[in-house]
């Protein structure tokens, strides 16, 4: 593989050896996700007023962190992927905030 | 006395332009000088220069200062534009394909905008079909007419004069014919006009439907099929209004 001269992200391009996850941890994560689903549905029954949105979104965020870190393996992956995801999320959040500078302050 | 919006816009414009022209001249002159001085014929061997941190800092800081000056000047002008005087007379402006309708506080409607001289006027700008933009070039400002919203701006009229309003947001076939005459008259005459209702005005003034139009009515109304001439009648003929009839010198910077 002459032409696989990777100057960074040190590995030879084959990541099979990178990490050996087991069945167990993934099943645990799954149970966690199901519990969080149960919680969010249960909480939705209570009248939290304006807090409801925040709570639901926080739970959804936690759930997606689980999926991203374990199922999608990001926790064990190379740093670039974390940076990439960070760039993507920051872009999205900033765009959202700037849009709301308009919506919130309209008369 | 508040600063005049027209002057402020022109001053900001020429301030930014002035800085820009100086910068442009500098860049161009230096560039041409280098190309001449260090031409291969005169200067066959180049000297390798990697960069210079001091210079980088200088040409970051100076532009920062320049743009901040530009920003604050334009912001000051903008604040004035958005801060409507309390005593402003309100005219409601409604755009539709392809004409403007003006409504005064006494419900009088007109498709020519009559305004009293030396008065602050606030426009409430609406649209009943697609986006338009109520543009008064002589007053250096515009604001879009967006269906479902009311936008606004204000101006201060001067001495009696004839201007025009144009539509500056593309709105279909006759976008370029969506003018309205703007006639500033002495205050007394204006009040006379406003309170005078000729028995047959209703004919010349098209009633404006204010309830929102459904999508379909427009589609069948064939945005396409009208031709230029049918539309021109009813609206102003282009040659009757003198654009920027503000005297030439007011247009130039002060």
């Amino acid at each position: 593989m002459e032409n696989n001269h990777h100057t960074e992200e040190q590995n030879d391009g084959h990541i099979a050896e990178a990490h050996h996850p087991s069945y167990g941890i993934n099943i645990l994560v799954w149970i966690g996700l199901l519990s969080l689903t149960a919680i969010t549905v249960a909480v939705a029954g209570i009248n939290l007023g304006s807090l409801a949105l925040t709570v639901a979104l926080v739970i959804a965020l936690v759930k997606s962190m689980f999926v991203i870190n374990f199922f999608m393996h990001l926790k064990f992956d190379n740093k670039v992927f974390k940076i990439f995801l960070g760039i993507c999320m920051i872009t999205f959040i900033v765009v959202m905030i700037l849009t709301f500078f308009d919506l919130t302050f309209r008369i | 006395m508040r600063p005049n919006i027209v002057d402020q816009v022109d001053q900001t414009f020429w301030l930014i332009m002035g800085i820009s022209i100086i910068l442009l001249a500098l860049i161009t002159v230096v560039m041409i000088y280098f190309v001449y001085k260090y031409n291969r014929k005169r200067h066959p061997v180049a000297e390798n220069i990697e960069g210079n941190t001091t210079l980088e800092i200088v040409w970051t800081i100076i532009p920062v200062i320049l743009v901040l000056i530009m920003f604050f000047v334009s912001w000051a002008g903008f604040k004035n534009m958005r801060d409507v005087p309390k005593d402003a007379m309100v005219v409601s402006v409604t755009g539709q394909m392809w004409k403007w309708t003006f409504e005064y506080d006494n419900k009088k409607k007109s498709d020519t905008l009559f305004l009293p001289a030396n008065t602050n006027v606030k426009f409430d700008i609406k649209s009943i079909d697609v986006n338009h933009s109520f543009y008064l070039p002589a007053f250096r400002t515009k604001e879009d007419a967006i269906p479902g919203r009311v936008n606004h701006y204000w101006i201060r009229t001067n001495e009696p004069e004839v201007y025009y309003a144009a539509c500056a947001e593309y709105c279909g076939l006759n976008h370029s014919y969506m003018y309205a005459p703007v006639i500033v008259i002495p205050e007394k005459k204006f009040i006379e006009w406003k309170n005078y209702t000729p028995p047959d005005t209703t004919k010349s003034v098209t009633p404006v439907k204010t309830d929102s139009l459904k999508t379909d009515t427009l589609k069948t109304g064939a945005v396409n099929s009208l031709n230029k001439d049918t539309l021109k009648t009813g609206s102003v003929k282009t040659d009757t209004i003198k654009p920027n009839s503000v005297k030439q010198d007011t247009l130039k910077s002060k």
Partner: protein, 549 residues
Amino acid sequence: MANGTIAAVPQTAEVNFYNVRTKHKGILSWLLTIDHKRIGIMYLFAVVFFFLVAMTIGVFMRLEMLTPGETFMKPQTYNSLFTLHGVIMIFLFIIPAVPAVFGNFFLPIQLGAQDVQFPKLNLLSWYLYVIGAVLALTSLFSGGGIMDTGWTFYVPYSIRTTTNVSLSVFAAFVLGFATILTGLNFITTIHRLRCPGMTWFRMPLFAWALYATSWIQVLATPVIGITLILIILERAFGIGIFDPALGGDPLLYQHMFWIYSHPAVYIMILPAMGVVSEIIPTFSKKTIFGYVPIAISSLAIALVGYLVWGHHMFSSGISDTSRVIFSLLTFFVALPSGIKIFNWVATLYKGSIEVTAPMLYVLLFIFIFSIGGLTGLVLGALNTDLHLTDTYFVVAHFHYVMFGGMGIIFFAALHYWFPKMFGKMYNEKVAKTAAVWIGIGFNMLYFPMFIMGYLGMPRRYYDYLPEFQKYHVFATVGSWVLVSGIIIMYINLAIALKRGKKAPDNPWGGTTLEWKTSSPPIMENFKEIPTVTTGPYDHSITESQEVKK
């Protein structure tokens, strides 16, 4: 296995990627190729074709504007033409122009790689481009006629007009995907395929520019993708998302549109800036001044470019607070562009400058782009924009930055890399004459538009008040000068293609890796994978083997 094959490519210069024996023969060897160079050439011809189409439309538009009232077309035709002109220029020409043509051809070579990371995906991008183009052409002859919304597709007009908006918008969606895939490909290529020794800060600045561009392509294009799909859904099913009659908010549409389309203007200009950073050191025979600031400013432009889209909406009734914020941010986006300009000019200092055709275009670019960029500041200012928005001032601004920026640099790149891409030399004198014509014609055409705009001539106007006629006439005449310049340029290149002298491997004395392989390059780009030990523009070590022409 790779090793053996590369060594087996013979030394004879005659074997290049055009005549190497490939699996498929004839036209198929192009249509099924996964070679980045061939794909780049295919893009070149497609892009130039659409450029000429849109330019011809532009000339017709100018002709119509020669006199007030009807000159030779009806308003509906004019409205369709400027829409078509804008859509083709933006989606079919300027966005793919430099990345897809020169990026495809030269990025892997400059990195010392044999191809992009995903060659098949690269071909798929090309096909998406072609499909998008075919859809766009189909939309002209089907449905309710040629779209007449302007390239911004603003709702509610775009929902209501009876013309064929849906298909054209879908074409733009497909074209968007083509650019996303190209961007994705380039990012991965730059991360994975740099040759040994090529650290991030030894990459040519063209690669840096493409890297920044690609990120915008990946992260911004999907937003317009979904927005365009929503227009189609509203037209087809009456789903209310933007339609104010159903409670939708047309301003949210504008937000969505410009969230993409402002970053998109930096998709257009960043690659051009990358090309400039290549050409200036080559013809000054010295390294670039301020490599790191230029590289970083590309990223900065990409970054800040995300934060300023609201400046296209100053008059639309967005909140005053957001106008102030967007305006401030807009002013900051000018800084990295300025840093680039200053560093380029500084590179000339104590160089050994040769004004060849590509260099002439670059000098022209610096002048014209500065005008375009600086007038952008007036538009970014809060109070002046309310006067100038949607007038010819804006039209002048964006032609100065788009045509004067990317367009001129497209010509520069074409001349700079022509010997490498086709192995032929063109007539230098004629090329320079054409550049001068283009420079004069360009300014005659667009400068009057600044004045008209300031005097209050709105854009997208089929007809105008008589007092503007003198400016319009001047501009129209300018367009003829420009046309002649461009025709001379293309004819010169066409002749060179047929009968040009054979080009040496390194006609300009360039230092980046593409000049270290044959002209045209061999199939695998290099006989053996190069190893890099210095920065990209180190002229001190180039052997003076270059052939002066």
